[in-house]
């Protein structure tokens, strides 16, 4: 008689792990990071390093504080994903403490206060970004114009660590395309008058449009790897195209074309990475479609009437709050229920 150790079924498992999911997300962000660096300079790399360092330190401290397994918590790479998403949202020349405070809010407030990985209601990176956006509007607007010679690493380091903005900052600094659009709209100018500004590039946002396309590329990779479903990106993109397309057809003088909306600001990052975050989004397929549509509608509303040029972060957070309710009403019909014959 040979004896064996027993265990519950199933006895086989797919080679899936949280770490692998997070690693795929990080991989998918690489094209976006590369184009970002090309357009706005190596400052982003500093920010990525800073954010990663802060995130891992905070994560370790918070895990220890909560009495959880520190090593396993760091190895799942979820803190790193939060760090990268956060760094991609802030201007590359932001002072270092913005990153520290943002990630403290992201990991401490949004993630671990709610019970850690999987238990958070709001997307940590977006909470962190929203906190610093509200608290430090000046630092968060220090964008350089795309297409100009971006500041080199030394200049960026001086700005990030010593708070010394590069000389002739006035000539370097540039409103983001969305900011420019808001100012123009406030000044009652028509689109045709302002479209000639270099900040608008080809499709409506110089530099940003390429970054957005790179994000979409990474998103397609995630889709192919089945890390995300098609519903959230489809919900965001189709809703934006539909709504802005209708508005644009109605009055092309005042409403920017759909592609400009789609490819500017953080919309693509949100569509493929942030809103598609499973923890804080919906789980049912219909729920995810609705979630994406909600993010799109709120973003457009915030862009049109909100205080900030781009409301993507707030739109995602609002939809995070709505996600449990949406899930409640969009559960698929269970086999053998309802449709009896």
């Amino acid at each position: 008689m040979k004896t064996f150790a027993t265990a519950g079924a199933p006895h086989l498992r797919a080679a899936a792990s949280v770490r692998r999911v997070m690693a795929d997300v990080l991989l998918a962000l690489l094209p976006g990071i590369a184009v970002h660096v090309w357009a706005f300079g190596p400052g982003l790399l500093l920010q990525l390093g800073l954010a990663a360092g802060f995130a891992l330190a905070f994560e370790a401290a918070l895990l220890r504080l909560r009495g959880g397994p520190v090593r396993a918590g760091l190895e799942d790479l979820s803190a790193l994903v939060t760090a990268v998403l956060f760094a991609l949202c802030i201007p590359p020349l932001c002072p270092w403490w913005v990153s520290a405070l943002g990630l403290l809010a992201a990991l401490g407030l949004a993630k671990h206060a709610y019970g850690g990985l999987g238990a958070n209601l709001f997307n940590p990176a977006m909470v962190g970004y929203a906190v610093v956006l509200v608290a430090f509007p000046r630092e968060l607007s220090q964008w350089t114009g795309a297409g100009l010679t971006p500041p080199d690493l030394a200049t960026a380091a001086a700005a990030v660590f010593a708070g010394q903005l590069p000389p002739h900052w006035d000539t370097l600094a540039s409103a983001t395309p969305l900011d420019a659009l808001r100012q123009a709209a406030a000044a009652q100018r028509t689109l045709a008058e302002i479209r000639s500004q270099p900040v608008f590039g080809h499709a409506g946002a110089a530099g940003w449009e390429l970054i957005a396309l790179a994000y979409a590329l990474g998103g397609l990779y995630l889709l192919w790897r089945r890390v995300i479903g098609w519903q959230v990106p489809a919900g965001v993109i189709l809703s934006v195209l539909l709504l802005t397309g209708a508005a644009w057809l109605f009055d092309a003088e005042r409403n920017p074309p759909p592609l400009q909306h789609l490819l500017s600001g953080g919309l693509m990052l949100a569509a493929w990475f942030v809103a598609a975050d499973p923890v804080t989004g919906c789980t049912s397929p219909r729920g995810r479609l609705l979630f994406g549509a909600g993010v799109a509608v709120l973003t457009l509303a915030l862009r049109r009437w909100g205080l900030h040029a781009d409301g993507v972060a707030f739109a995602v957070l609002l939809m995070n709050a709505a996600a449990p309710l949406i899930d409640e009403f969009t559960r698929p019909r269970i086999y053998g229920h309802g449709r009896h014959d």
Binding site: K2, F4, G8, A9, P10, R13, V279, D327, I334, H337
Partner: protein
């Protein structure tokens, strides 16, 4: 014809080559073990005793199902022992130990080659005699399942799980018997439509079936997508019929019957050749076994003997599984008998079962929901069950979970989801049984209450009648009795004390006191209980000591034990008002502390 896929499910790598190999023989072992327990866990009624010589097919026990399905002896030989044997799911059952003697003589079952002329009832009877249980894995008595008229009969040739190849091997080798068996079963249930469903990857088996179908017009071959768990009964119906089996019902209720292909073949052998169910095909697989393949195994063979026939364990053997890799039962050891349900034995290697990562919290990725063929939301069920909200989980369909394991297979956080659902379901079942028990107890209690009230009312009526008679007697008697009346109160306490003392000393005689007056029933119950406790002491003590320790005279009096007591009719005339007002009260009392 292309079919819609089931929602969710898993597309798994094709089974290893060995699963598609030829049928291999498993030699008759020296001993066969036959646990006397049927698939639902109820004991079988034993017919044979140790020492008895049996033939192949002799019924050794009868099932407790309506058809009384037999447990036939799998080989001819001698019953040498009745001993406890471990069961796959844990626990033990008495098992007959049969020593085959080699000649393998079959018991006489008249072959019925004219089955088309036989009545469905006769055919069902034959199947029950032959011990035919479903060979798909659930082990449901086939004759019972055939007890319904249905429109559609589906033969399930889609393997239940990856690694299992027993159905495909059978179809390749014996398609003609399977198809003929399908026609036979269709006659029993009067099915107008017969569908033989195979996975679309089984080309060779499909060709064999197609060739056999030439003789049987009206039967149809239907390839179904190779998606786990397509072989599940409800999933097969969903795809083949385009309909869903309503939650909590079973398929015959909607005119559809599903039988495994091997069951059809065994039914054919039982009817046309007069053979009892004594063998089945078992897939042996995994890296832990030397020669994987599909073995034709005598029922009652130990896993140990089957593995020996398959070349023994390899150095990698790490987990022994009865059934498939996704739903199978891990066995603690290999001295477990194979019965008609055993479609597969897997010996998984260390590499197969090693977790890919430590267990992590749920990240709500929804992969499980995407994989669930029943379209549950496994992540929500897990959250509710972890939070102890069993009712919430039940409302989200916990009972509809078929435990296929797709969710746990895909979970990136390596959460043992199915374990959690099994626990939740058994807890739900336990609660349901408890509620049923409580309802029954309440019904019993209420019935008892009604009975006691009725009896009490009858008693009161009797006493009243008697008292009236006494009163009439008294009325004619001397008026001197009235002089004694003022003393009634002082005499009264003594009366019940005497009666309870009598009870304490000998509580077998309630009749004489109860028939006389209503009240002593209270004193009697109390003292009966207390007297039981103090019986030893009461034996030694005088009968007079008992009432002091049990029912104090004062309490007995306060209880309303009325003065018109036993053997003192003289006092009766003084107390009638009192006595008439009281009786209902003590009647309520004994019922309250009812166990």
């Amino acid at each position: 014809m292309t079919l819609l896929r089931i929602p969710g499910g898993l597309v798994l790598p094709p089974p290893p080559a060995a699963a598609a190999g030829p049928l291999l023989p498993c030699p008759l072992p020296a001993c066969l073990y036959l646990p006397l327990v049927q698939a639902d866990g109820r004991p079988l009624q034993r017919l044979a005793a140790p020492g008895q010589t049996v033939r192949r097919g002799t019924p050794l026990a009868l099932g407790q199902d309506a058809a009384a399905t037999a447990l036939p002896a799998p080989a001819s030989g001698r019953i040498v022992d009745l001993l406890p044997l471990d069961l796959p799911g844990g626990g033990q059952a008495p098992a007959l130990l049969l020593q085959p003697e080699g000649r393998d003589e079959a018991a006489a079952f008249a072959p019925l080659p004219d089955w088309q002329a036989q009545s469905p009832a006769a055919l069902r009877r034959r199947l029950a005699e032959a011990g035919l249980t479903g060979l798909g894995g659930a082990g449901f008595p086939a004759a019972l399942k055939l007890n319904h008229q249905v429109r559609t009969l589906i033969l399930n040739g889609a393997e239940c799980e990856p690694y299992i190849g027993c159905d495909e091997a059978l179809l390749r080798a014996r398609a003609a018997e399977v198809v003929a068996g399908a026609a036979l079963l269709a006659r029993i249930v009067d099915a107008a439509e017969v569908v033989i469903a195979l996975e679309d990857r089984m080309h060779e088996a499909a060709a064999a079936v197609a060739a056999a179908l030439a003789q049987w017009p009206g039967l149809r071959l239907q390839p179904v997508p190779t998606v786990y768990p397509q072989g599940g009964e409800r999933q097969l119906i969903q795809v083949v019929c385009g309909r869903e089996v309503p939650s909590g019902r079973w398929p015959p209720a909607m005119g559809v019957l599903v039988h495994n292909v091997a069951t059809a073949q065994a039914a054919w052998r039982a009817v046309v050749h007069g053979e009892a169910l004594t063998t089945r095909i078992v897939s042996v697989g995994g890296r832990g076994v030397a020669v994987p393949g599909n073995y034709e195994v005598r029922l009652g063979t130990l896993v140990e003997d089957l593995i020996a026939a398959a070349g023994g364990y390899t150095a990698q053997a790490a987990r022994l599984v009865l059934g498939g890799p996704l739903m199978g039962q891990a066995l603690p050891h290999d001295r477990i008998a194979l019965d008609a349900r055993a479609n597969s034995v897997l010996v998984l290697g260390e590499d197969d079962i090693r977790p890919h990562a430590p267990q992590q919290p749920c990240i709500r990725c929804g992969d499980c929901a995407r994989a669930c063929p029943v379209q549950l939301q496994p992540q929500e069920l897990l959250r509710l069950l972890d939070g102890g909200d069993l009712d919430g989980a039940a409302a989200l369909g916990l009972r509809d979970c078929i435990e296929c394991g797709c969710c746990a297979y895909v979970c990136p956080s390596q959460i043992p989801l199915v374990d959690s659902y099994r626990r939740g379901k058994s807890e739900l079942a336990r609660r349901g049984a408890e509620r049923a028990r409580a309802d029954l107890a309440r019904a019993r209690y209420e019935a008892r209450q009604r009975r006691l009230q009725r009896e009490q009312a009858e008693k009161v009526a009797r006493v009243a009648a008697r008292r009236e008679a006494v009163q009439q007697e008294q009325a004619t008697a001397a008026s001197a009795a009235a002089v004694v009346a003022p003393g009634a109160d002082s005499i009264a306490p003594g009366a019940p004390a005497v009666s309870s003392a009598a009870v304490a000393a000998d509580n077998t005689n309630p009749a004489n006191t109860a028939s006389a007056v209503p009240a002593p029933s209270t004193a009697m119950d109390k003292s009966a209980v207390l007297a039981a406790i103090a019986r030893g002491r009461a034996k030694r003590a005088a009968a007079a000591a008992a009432p002091e320790s049990t029912a104090p005279p004062h309490a007995a009096a306060a209880d309303g034990a009325p003065a018109p007591a036993t053997g003192n009719p003289a006092t009766a005339s003084a107390a009638p008002d009192d006595a008439e007002a009281r009786p209902p009260a003590p009647a309520q009392k004994p019922a309250e502390p009812s166990p």
